[in-house]
Subunit: 407 residues, 2 copies
């Protein structure tokens, strides 16, 4: 698309970042800024500090005059450079947002985030329409959970998946060197995409992860113990990937379930991330069920999955930039008053995607989950998942074990 030099409506633009940061969320922000810059009719490009919270508190920063070189550095930096927010605005909150946008003559609103953020965009846009205020509201996708509907995948996921893959590649060898049962807890409340990415670590048939548990299927401790015992008997070790969001058949997250069973452990609120509790509970379940003499360890990868510096997937970084640019271009074209930019895969070899707008209501507040066809025996991920995830993660480190004939 040729660059547009005249905006359809004159006014200011606001960019906000929302929810959990990713390794590439700043790419999207910079993508928007570079398209809007030097366009006649766009007077100021403002960054909302800490997302919607910054808007209602009228806390903006100037993005128009940040030197291009610095912007480029920021694009390559993990974390939400503008600050993020966990606020989930209701209609009243959105009213406040709109009135501040009006006060500042904001005509272009870009919100980078997950499905909650697209919902905020939708409500603000609806309110503006009702009031007859000419606003263009665009949602730019971002989530390591990869759970936005109508998208092949989402920016942020590929880099987080790369981190998980590299972590399992190394941990598989660590577990081979000092055999035992090792549990790694991966982020993902409702969708198992990131946990499934651990399968990228497998090169040889006896490589881990040997078991992979995602939130798309119910988790049962007795079945878990049987699965672990079987793998342990075969390989003398067992490497396990578990989603933080696994839940019992009644829908209760295992985190609360296990915390209840171990009723003595009742400190603080049960939270999924930022605690090692689920891993420790599962370790204890294995020791109690299979033998207290077993070497059982649990690591919870935690915030490193979304923030680790120097691990971004190049494809993911490029796409994050491109969805930002696309949103800005759509706003400048002037035909759409609102949209969420989606990623569609056109072909796999060579890997090629398209960025297509879709109405906000189609994406807002909905959650996409892992296709059941990838889930094997409720405890593993099929090799077919490779085809889907490989291009998103890009090149992984080349490693090689001795592959000695043990025995």
């Amino acid at each position: 698309m040729a660059s547009i030099t005249q905006a359809p409506v004159s006014g200011n633009a606001v960019i906000g970042q929302s929810g959990g940061p990713t390794m590439v969320i700043n790419q999207s922000m910079v993508g928007i800024v570079e398209v809007l810059r030097n366009v006649k009719g766009i007077d100021r490009i403002l960054g909302a500090q800490h997302g919607v919270r910054g808007i209602i508190e009228n806390k903006f920063v100037d993005l128009q005059n940040v030197p291009a070189e610095r912007l480029e550095q920021v694009a390559n930096t993990p974390g939400a450079g503008l600050g993020s927010s966990r606020d989930k605005p209701d209609e009243e909150y959105c009213h406040k947002i709109l009135s501040v946008l009006e006060e500042n003559n904001v005509r272009y609103f870009f919100y980078i985030g997950g499905n909650d953020s697209s919902d905020t965009c939708r409500i603000v846009n609806d309110l503006a329409k009702r009031e007859g205020y000419d606003l263009r509201a665009f949602h730019v996708p971002k989530t390591i959970d990869n759970d936005l509907v109508h998208n092949d995948h989402t920016p942020g996921f590929g880099s987080a998946a790369k981190f998980v893959a590299q972590a399992f590649m190394g941990d598989n060898l660590d577990n081979r060197a000092l055999p035992g049962i090792k549990i790694n807890i991966i982020m993902g409340r409702h969708a198992g995409f990131l946990t499934a990415a651990s399968m990228l670590a497998r090169q040889h048939t006896d490589d881990g992860p040997h078991l992979i548990y995602v939130p798309e299927v119910s988790f049962s401790v007795p079945k878990f113990l049987t699965d672990v015992e079987e793998v342990y008997r075969r390989y003398g070790r067992c490497l396990i990937a578990v989603s933080e969001g696994i839940h019992a058949s009644d829908g209760t997250p295992m985190m609360s379930k296990l915390a209840q069973e171990i009723e003595t452990d009742a400190h603080g609120n049960v939270q999924l991330s930022g605690t090692g509790a689920l891993g420790d509970h599962l370790s204890n379940a294995i020791k109690e069920g299979l033998g207290s003499n077993l070497r059982v360890r649990a690591d919870t990868f935690g915030y490193l999955q979304r923030s680790f510096a120097g691990c971004a997937s190049p494809v993911d970084a490029d796409e994050a930039r491109a969805v930002g640019r696309k949103a800005a271009e759509l706003a400048l074209e002037g035909e759409l008053a609102e949209a969420s930019v989606t990623i569609q895969r056109v072909s796999n070899e060579p890997y090629k995607v398209q960025f297509k707008p879709i109405e906000l209501s189609a994406v807002a507040g909905k959650t996409r989950t892992l296709d059941r066809k990838f889930i094997v025996n409720d405890c593993n991920i099929s090799e077919r998942f490779h085809e889907y995830i490989d291009p998103l993660v890009g090149r992984l480190p080349v490693i090689e074990s001795l592959r000695l004939n043990h025995g």
Copy 2:
């Protein structure tokens, strides 16, 4: 040194790997193999499977005929390729080791590991001398804890420190985007070097880690809460690095101490690594002491610190290879019957090191800790530590926050 083509004694060589694997322990193994290969008098180069355990069980693999290209790939692969062991041999165990070495006409014994491994080397060597069996026993240093005496630093540390630095670089930005109190637990039972490495993440005065707790000073929960409160008041957030080995003034590890206080949490044995318990206990202490409404999160970096694929420090990898080569060269020179290879820093700019042999008894079983001059107010690491650690870690990712004038 010119390559030696004739070994001083004819016989076989055994290489073993011990203790926690690192990202570069295979470099040392490959360094030994490439020097010993094609030397007259070295008949077979054997790898002991799972360290001393493999020796007493007579489980060896051939390293002589592994193709050079594959060896090079293995060198660049994390984890102990030969398998590792946690066994800590006593004199009787060492007798068994020696008798198996004799059976196999082993005249060169290389053991890659920490201070326990050098002690094993020492005992085996003493027994051989007593029996009049001509054995050359060499210890090759390896530990992410960086706790070997008579060494400027140890192979494995630089790469683990690089991981910790990159993790904190990203997590600092994550914590800035979504402010709160964040605790990260770092490996290191007695020495705080790896925890101290988190300071590499600081670029600007308000960057975290804001507090760093190492095992070299006693830990007190009331002081901890005061420290955290002060930082939180100043920055509205607080990023904390805590060594897994912190202990109370009576020497009890905080891990057991806190587990006792929270007496309801009595499942399993208290262990330092492979559990999120310490982080969770400290989170709870903050919520109880400073307010349950605070956003407090804890991550335990766990085994990723020593195993993550694709994060090795190039300097660390080179040095790990070099200490292996040096040990083999010393053995072939024939002047020394036993030694531990140490790393001495000759100059900092340009960074230059020497590898010097030292008698096994000087290193065996001793633990080096962080110099007190680097510890500030019992809760931080001074900027002077940079000079020491920078060359070991090498280039870190270039990141840049917007540095907007918040307000």
